[in-house]
């Protein structure tokens, strides 16, 4: 099947209706979680959901639009990070394509992969945004950690490498739980139902 044919299939009517709902889920859960002062974000559950059920590109679109909506309504500081959201959706879709969303431990692996990809992209954005950081290891790391808004002590303890993967693994698992909670008949309506 050609790329454009696959794309058209991925963006079925069900997908088109799902995406705004997934964005709303991202925004609403993300907001509730931040109001509860929990140490995670959980603002990409919808993105992962779409990536798994409708393919990487639909997931990427969902992530990007969620980021824009978040920036417009909650916190404009989030705007520069739209590529991270893009790649979260893309990665989720690709992992699911290769069968990494079928059992809970595979989902954990997906979460770790997503966290890894997100960390790399974030680092690039931080460099670009905060400019001219030298390639020396420790200053890069510190600057990245500090620039992503963490307190100094947290950054020094490199907790970023603990919280981010937890967030993404939890996100992936929650997306998986949601899918498991929906009937097979319902899931089979989506273009990439074979991923689960």
């Amino acid at each position: 099947m050609s790329f454009s044919e696959r794309l058209k299939e991925d963006f079925s009517t069900m997908t088109l209706v799902l995406i705004p709902v997934a964005i709303a889920i991202n925004v609403v859960i993300g907001q509730i979680v931040s109001l509860l002062k929990l140490p995670v974000y959980l603002d990409s559950i919808g993105t992962v959901l779409v990536g798994v059920l409708a393919g990487p590109w639909a997931g990427a679109l969902t992530g990007t639009l969620s980021n824009i909506v978040w920036g417009l309504t909650i916190d404009p500081n989030a705007f520069p990070w739209f590529p991270v959201a893009f790649f979260i959706g893309l990665t989720a879709g690709i992992c699911a394509r290769y069968g990494l969303f079928k059992t809970w431990w595979k989902v954990v692996i997906t979460g770790i992969i997503i966290a890894f990809v997100a960390a790399i992209i974030s680092a690039f954005i931080n460099v670009w945004l905060y400019g001219g950081i030298t390639a020396s290891g420790s200053s890069f790391l510190t600057a990245y950690l500090l620039a992503s808004g963490r307190g100094v002590i947290e950054s020094v303890l490199a907790t970023n490498f603990i919280f981010e993967p937890i967030d993404k693994v939890a996100t992936s698992l929650l997306a998986w739980f949601i899918i498991k909670g929906l009937s097979v008949r319902y899931i089979s309506r989506f273009p990439r139902a074979e991923n689960v």
């Binding site: 069900m14 705004p20 709303a24 609403v28 509860l36 140490p39 404009p76 705007f79 001219g132």
Partner: protein, 258 residues
């Protein structure tokens, strides 16, 4: 609670009457020139000399300034502090507090980044304050934006306030039980699931019927779609758009060459 997710301010003004694509091209031009064009003070000039006057021409000057300040101030302050302190290219030390030193070049770089971002947000703010979303969407669809994308964008704009209203009920229920600040992390999470769960599952299950509903309106028809509203355009605006595009390329070229 707002029941529409839109920055649009309804006024009668020449800016409002401009074709949305013209405003879109203007916004993108300003952003690109601001980030890639030549000159240290360019973003500042663009913001003060072009964006602010345009906003007043559009009768939305006050809203523009208020929003710009509200959106940008936290970001700018944060950026300023971060870059002033940690930008490694700085040499001229101005102030030294403990192990932190404030360098001139860092402040200069921070100012440039801050004004670039201010310029970018301002450019899109101008567009969004003066253009009704459905006008923008109708025009873009007419010019070839896939209807699927239009549907997703507009539907998102409308569904977010709906879901947030429902979610606020949940949050209020949590608050009244004092679970927001008291209770352990796990208690807070645990109390949340039975409330957020139905919201999430309910909205997901509805997706099927809503997909049927739009197919019942022939959304997937292969015909050429028409539009109820007409969005006016003019030759002059078309020429201005091309002119802006050209100007942008030239200025970026100069900026990159330097």
């Amino acid at each position: 609670m707002a029941d529409q997710l839109s920055l649009y301010v309804d006024r009668a003004s020449p800016l409002h009457r401009l074709n949305p694509l013209t405003k879109l091209v203007l916004s993108f031009s300003l952003v690109l020139i601001g980030f890639l064009g030549p000159g240290y003070w360019l973003p500042t000039i663009l913001f003060v000399g072009i964006l602010i006057p345009l906003s007043f021409w559009g009768n939305i000057g006050n809203e523009f300034l208020q929003r710009a300040v509200r959106l940008i101030l936290p970001l700018v302050l944060f950026l300023f502090v971060m870059q002033s302190l940690f930008y490694p290219g700085g040499r001229t030390v101005l102030v030294r507090i403990w192990i932190i030193s404030l360098k001139l070049e860092s402040i200069q770089f921070a100012y440039l980044t801050a004004t670039r971002i201010l310029n970018m947000v301002g450019a899109f703010l101008l567009l969004l304050l003066s253009t009704h979303p459905s006008t923008l969407m109708t025009d873009l669809t007419r010019r070839g934006l896939p209807p699927a994308l239009t549907y997703i964008l507009v539907s998102t704009l409308q569904i977010i306030p709906q879901m947030r209203n429902k979610a606020n009920t949940i949050i209020d229920a949590q608050r009244s039980r004092g679970l927001e600040t008291q209770g352990s992390v796990w208690a807070r999470i645990g109390a949340l699931f039975p409330l957020v769960g139905p919201l999430v599952f309910g909205s997901l299950v509805d997706v099927e019927e809503r997909a049927i509903a739009i197919e019942a309106r022939a959304f997937k028809a292969k015909r050429v779609k028409t539009s109820l509203r007409e969005v006016p355009d003019s030759t002059l605006q078309r020429q201005v758009r091309w002119g802006l595009g050209l100007l942008t390329l030239v200025l970026i070229g100069i900026g990159l060459w330097r």
